[in-house]
Symmetry: C2
Amino acid sequence: MAFVNENYLKLPGSYLFSEIARREKQFRQENPDCDLIKMGIGDVTRPLPPAVIEAMHQAVEEMGQQKTFRGYGPEQGYEFLIEKIIEHDFKPRGVDLAVNEVFISDGAKTDTANFQEIFGMGNILAVTDPVYPVYVDSNVMAGRTGIYNNDKGQFEGIVYLPCNQENGLKPALPSTKADMIYLCYPNNPTGTTLSAEELKKWVDYARDHKAIILFDAAYEAFIREDGVPHSIFEIEGAREVAVEFRSFSKTAGFTGTRCAYTIVPKEVMVYDSKGEAHSLNKLWLRRQTTKFNGVSYPIQAATAAVFSEAGKQQVKETIDYYMDNAAIIRAGLEKAGYTVFGGVNAPYIWLKTPGQMGSWEFFDKLMKEANVIGTPGAGFGASGEGFFRLTAFNTRENTERAIERIRTRIV
Amino acid sequence: MAFVNENYLKLPGSYLFSEIARREKQFRQENPDCDLIKMGIGDVTRPLPPAVIEAMHQAVEEMGQQKTFRGYGPEQGYEFLIEKIIEHDFKPRGVDLAVNEVFISDGAKTDTANFQEIFGMGNILAVTDPVYPVYVDSNVMAGRTGIYNNDKGQFEGIVYLPCNQENGLKPALPSTKADMIYLCYPNNPTGTTLSAEELKKWVDYARDHKAIILFDAAYEAFIREDGVPHSIFEIEGAREVAVEFRSFSKTAGFTGTRCAYTIVPKEVMVYDSKGEAHSLNKLWLRRQTTKFNGVSYPIQAATAAVFSEAGKQQVKETIDYYMDNAAIIRAGLEKAGYTVFGGVNAPYIWLKTPGQMGSWEFFDKLMKEANVIGTPGAGFGASGEGFFRLTAFNTRENTERAIERIRTRIV
C-alpha cells in the first residue's frame, strides 16, 4: 500500500492567494460592473525589454538550424550567462565569484523551495514573521517542522522572528538554536531593507553558530539608496555561511519567462553527524544535475541580453517606472494619514491598517469601498496582522486611480 | 550548526556519464586527431521543427508588447497546451483526461525526480534493473532507501527487478512488498516494450496491492508497431493506480528547449497511517503550486505547435529519421553477429557484448578500436553488466560510419 507524505497534511487548508481570489470572485459576481484595480500580487505588467526580445528571437532562430541547434545544456546553466552575471551583478560591488558558484534555474521560487533538500531533517529553521510562505511551506512538506498551531498561526519547531512596529520591522537575532536562517532583503512583504552593518550581525551570528543564511535577494534591483547592500556577499565572512537567491522576474519582467540564479560559494559547509564538513556547493550541484535539466536555451540567451548596454538601460527604465509607482503610493498614503513602510528600495508598500483594523477586514473594506485589491498582512504570518501590502507593479494610471480612491473613499 | 542531508552521502562517488566523459577526455588527449563518434547519450541532433520555431517567434513577439505580454502563468501549465495534449495524445487512443489531470513541466527528469516527494518515507521502491538512474537517486536523496552495497551495485531497501536475457528483458512482478513501482516503456536503456497484456499484469498487481505505478513514457513517440500501448491509461484500471510522465525532449527535439508533462488521474489514492485515502492529484497540485512557477510562456506556446498539422508532420519526419538510424544500427549489428534488443519501438539499441566481455571493457575497446562512444550497460544497474547501449540520435552519416567501423574493426 502506497503511503502519503503526511507532512503535506500539516499544511492549512486555505492559502492566502486562493482566499483572496475567492473573495474577489464573489465580489465580482455581486458587482458585475465594478472596476477593480489589483494591487495585490507581485506580478509585473510591463513587456520584456526590446533587447531581450531581440536576443530571444535570435536564439529561437538558432534552434531551428541544424548547425546552431542546441540540445541538453549544462544543468547548472550556460557559462555565457553566468559570466555576464558575475561581471555585471557582482564584480562592480567588489564581489568575486567563480563560474561554478553560480547556478542558473527557472525561478527563485523553485530554488528557495528546493534548496532545503540538501539539509538534514534535524536542522531548525528561523524565518522572519511576516515571511514569504514558500520558505516555510517547503520545509513543512519536507518534514522539518512540527504541526500547525491554529491559534498562533504558526508551525511548531520553527523559530519565528517577529517584525513589527516596535522593532521597526527589523528582526532580532534568534535567541534559541537556529541552523537554517531565511532572510529576504529588500523584504517581501514589508519592503524594508537592512544596512550593511545590520546584515553583518547576521553573518557574524551564522559564523558563530555554524548556521546557514538563505538570502533571498529577488528584489535587489529595486534598491535606490546608497549604502544598502545589494548582495549578502558584500558583507565580510558571508562566503562562509550564506547562499543567495536572485531572480530576473521582477528585474526584467521575467515572471512568465522564467529565469533566476543561486549563488553557492565554495566555502559554505554543512556537517554530518560525525562532525565532518561537506561542501554545500557540491551538494547543490549533485541535486541539480540529478533532478533538473537546465533552463531553456532561448531563455538563457534572452537573459544574457539583460546585461547588454541596451538591455541595462531598458531594465532601468522599467524599474524606474515601478519605483515611481511606489513613490506615488507611499506619498498618497502618507498624505492620507497612513503609517507606511517600504516602497523606497522595494516595489512593496507595507501599511498599517487604520484604527487597529484587522488585515482581512481592511481587505474587504478596500475591495468594497475603493474597489482596490491588496494583500492582507496576516497572510504572511501572525505579525503581519494589522498590516496590508500594496505592490507597485500595476500601470501608472491604475496606481494613481487606486491611491486616489483610497484617499477619497476610505475614511 | 547546520547539518547535511546524510542521504546524499549514500550516493556512490562516480557517476556513469562523468566516468564516460573522463575516459573520453583522456583518450582525446592521447589521440588528438581521433574522429570519435558519440552514440552514447540520449541527446537529439535535429533542429526544432519549423512550426515550433514559428510559434515561438510569435510568442516572443507577444512578450514584447504591452497588450499581449504575459506574467505569471498557471503553475500547472496553460490550458491551451493541456487541451491540445489531451486531444492529440490521448483521445485518439480512447483515453479521456480532464484538464486538471495534466501538469505541464520543464522536463520528465524533473518530474520523475520530484514526484517521490509526495510519498511517505516508509514506501518501498521497485525498479527494473537496468534502470534510468534518476528514479533511484532521487529516492536515495530523499531517504527512502538504505545504503549502497558496493558488491551488489545496488541500494539496500529497493526491490530490483532484473531484466536479463533469460527473461527476455521483461521484469517479473515483485515477489516482495513494493509500493512505488517505476516502469519505463518504451524502455530506457533496453529499448524494449510491453504489450497491453503484459502491462495489464502490472496494473492488476498495483490494484491488488494498492501500489502506485510511476510510468515513464518519455519514448512513446518512437513506437512503430501496432498493439504496443502508448499510454498506461489504455489499460483498464490504470486510472486508479498510475501516473504517467511524458516529454517533448525526444519527440520534438526539446532537450534544450524544456517541456514535458505528467498525468495524475483523480482516482489515484495514497493512504495515511489511519488508512484514510488522499488524492495524489491534489498532492501534486499542492507540490507544484508551492515549489514551481510554471514553464516559460514562449516555450509552452511553441510546444502547442507540435500538435498543429504542420508540426505533427515535421515531428513525424524527425522520428522517422531517428528510427531509420535505429534500423541501420540494429541490422548492422545483427549482420556482425551481435545479439540485439530494442531499436524497433525505441531509439535505444541494447546489445550483448561479444564473448562475455564486461560493459566497461567493451566501452574501452569500442572507443579505442572503432572510435565510437556508447554507454556501458553496467552503468544502468547490475543486470546491465555484459550489455551496451547505443542511441539512434546521431546524424545518418555518423550512424552509418559508426556501424561500419564496429563491423570492420571490432572482432
